[in-house]
């Protein structure tokens, strides 16, 4: 690398901070003075490498995606942070659950703020995920090679709704109790699998302390883990398919850096033979 050249042109403090051995062991690319280093900054960074190295201006225009996927992910981040804070005061037992919810609302410092933020972010996430799906649908962004990513997206939507539903029981108020009674009876109406599903969900025959604990574990551990794994795959596949969808493959405005032949390209009708 051309370290010597930079040392002459950069101020001494910056040189000491950015050229020492510890910093260079963490950040292994040079200063942002060449396209190569600017690219390295993205793809040698764990958090940024979900982005393509270069992004077209067309792809980040607000009106293309309305940033709905990113906003859904941001809502999830808010929900994880506020949710972990709420967990410090909440016991998933009867009748503590309801009392703890009331304590959070009236006694805990910043409790109402955290609880309301958790609630509003949950509502926002359901709406944003839905709008994200609508946007993807009308843009045709589910088309090959992205069909399976649409399927992952549908599963993510179901997980979002399940997270919302399992969180619904945790305040243990009348709305929660009867909401979950109704919901588990809907599962019960399923042929053959219905009754065992309801029994497993509730850990009994009626909404009780077992059900509260089960919904708590699903809400705080199981469903968030599945969601994180699937979101990772979801974003990774967007990256592998050449970033944000810009048009049909091979067509006008398509992504030239999409990898590999696509099923539609392979299945395209052959040109009429002379």
């Amino acid at each position: 690398m051309s370290d010597a050249m930079h040392q002459t042109s950069t101020p001494k403090l910056a040189t000491r901070l950015l050229q020492n051995r510890v910093y260079r062991s963490i950040v292994r690319h040079g200063p942002f003075d060449t396209n190569r280093n600017r690219s390295l900054a993205v793809f040698s960074n764990f958090f940024l490498h979900i982005h393509p190295v270069k992004v077209r201006l067309r792809a980040i225009a607000f009106t293309r995606t309305f940033y709905l996927g990113g906003l859904s992910a941001a809502s999830y981040l808010i929900l994880v942070v506020t949710g972990v804070f709420l967990m410090f005061y909440y016991h998933p037992s009867v009748p503590r659950a309801y009392e703890d919810m009331k304590d959070l609302q009236y006694a805990v410092y910043m409790g109402p703020f955290l609880r309301n933020l958790h609630r509003w972010a949950a509502h926002a996430m359901v709406a944003l995920v839905f709008l994200h799906m609508v946007r993807v649908f009308f843009a045709g962004a589910y088309r090959p090679p992205r069909e399976f990513n649409w399927v992952i997206g549908v599963v993510l939507f179901v997980l979002t709704v399940l997270l919302s539903y399992t969180g619904y029981l945790l305040p243990w108020d009348q709305l929660a109790f009867w909401g979950v009674t109704v919901g588990t009876n809907m599962a019960d109406a399923m042929p053959v699998l219905g009754p065992p599903t309801k029994f497993l969900l509730l850990g009994g025959t009626a909404v009780s302390e077992n059900a509260l604990l089960r919904f708590y574990v699903l809400h705080c551990v199981v469903l968030p883990l599945f969601l994180v794994v699937l979101v990772s795959v979801h974003i990774w596949r967007i990256r592998k398919d050449g970033g944000i969808y810009l048009g049909s493959p091979g067509g006008e405005g398509s992504t030239p850096n999409a990898q590999g032949p696509t099923p539609t390209a392979a299945a395209a009708p052959e040109a009429p033979r002379p």
Binding site: W178, T181, D188, L200, G203, G204, A206, N210
Partner: protein, 162 residues
């Protein structure tokens, strides 16, 4: 099927290498273990003991209930009705999606607050969305006391003679 050494290639049509055979055995073993883990995990989540209220309980002496009254037992989610013909026990759980109904004495109607189903006091549906009438529950006399079992439903014309 003969197993042959990798070095004795090429293989005949019905031969396979030891490596391929052991790989298949390994995949099958992992598959069996995974299936067993799944079945065990689901079984683990089925409680062996439930700390729920008993389904069979005593209501009281029949002579304490005047004819034409409907006794509401919200804890057990049961209505006990004394008709001219005799006693009838009926669930208070709505047949739509399982909410607890309530008896409105001023209208003499059973009403579900969740989705607005209404039932007559004999359990028949007045208006939906409830798809079925409220089922009657097993009712018996034990040492002069009325005993209800919410786990046992009986036919809609069952009446315990007074």
């Amino acid at each position: 099927m003969d197993l042959v050494d990798d070095l004795q290639l090429p293989l005949g049509d019905r031969e396979r290498t030891r490596r391929a055979f052991l790989a298949a055995v390994g995949v099958a073993a992992v598959g069996v273990a995974g299936f067993g883990t799944g079945v065990t995990a689901v079984r683990f989540l089925q409680p062996e003991v439930l700390f729920e209220a008993p389904t069979r309980f005593r209501v009281g002496r029949p002579e304490d209930i005047p004819a034409g009254t409907l006794v509401v037992l919200p804890e057990q989610r049961v209505y006990l009705l004394r008709t001219p013909a005799g006693f009838v026990a009926m669930t208070a759980v709505c047949t739509h999606l399982g909410c607890l109904t309530r008896y409105e004495a001023e209208n003499d109607i059973i009403f579900c607050p969740c989705h607005g189903s209404r039932f007559a006091t004999d359990g028949s549906v007045v208006n939906g969305p409830a798809p079925l009438p409220l089922p009657r529950l097993a009712l018996s006399l034990d040492n002069g006391l009325l005993v209800v079992d919410t786990a046992v439903t009986v036919s809609r014309d069952t009446v315990l003679a007074a």
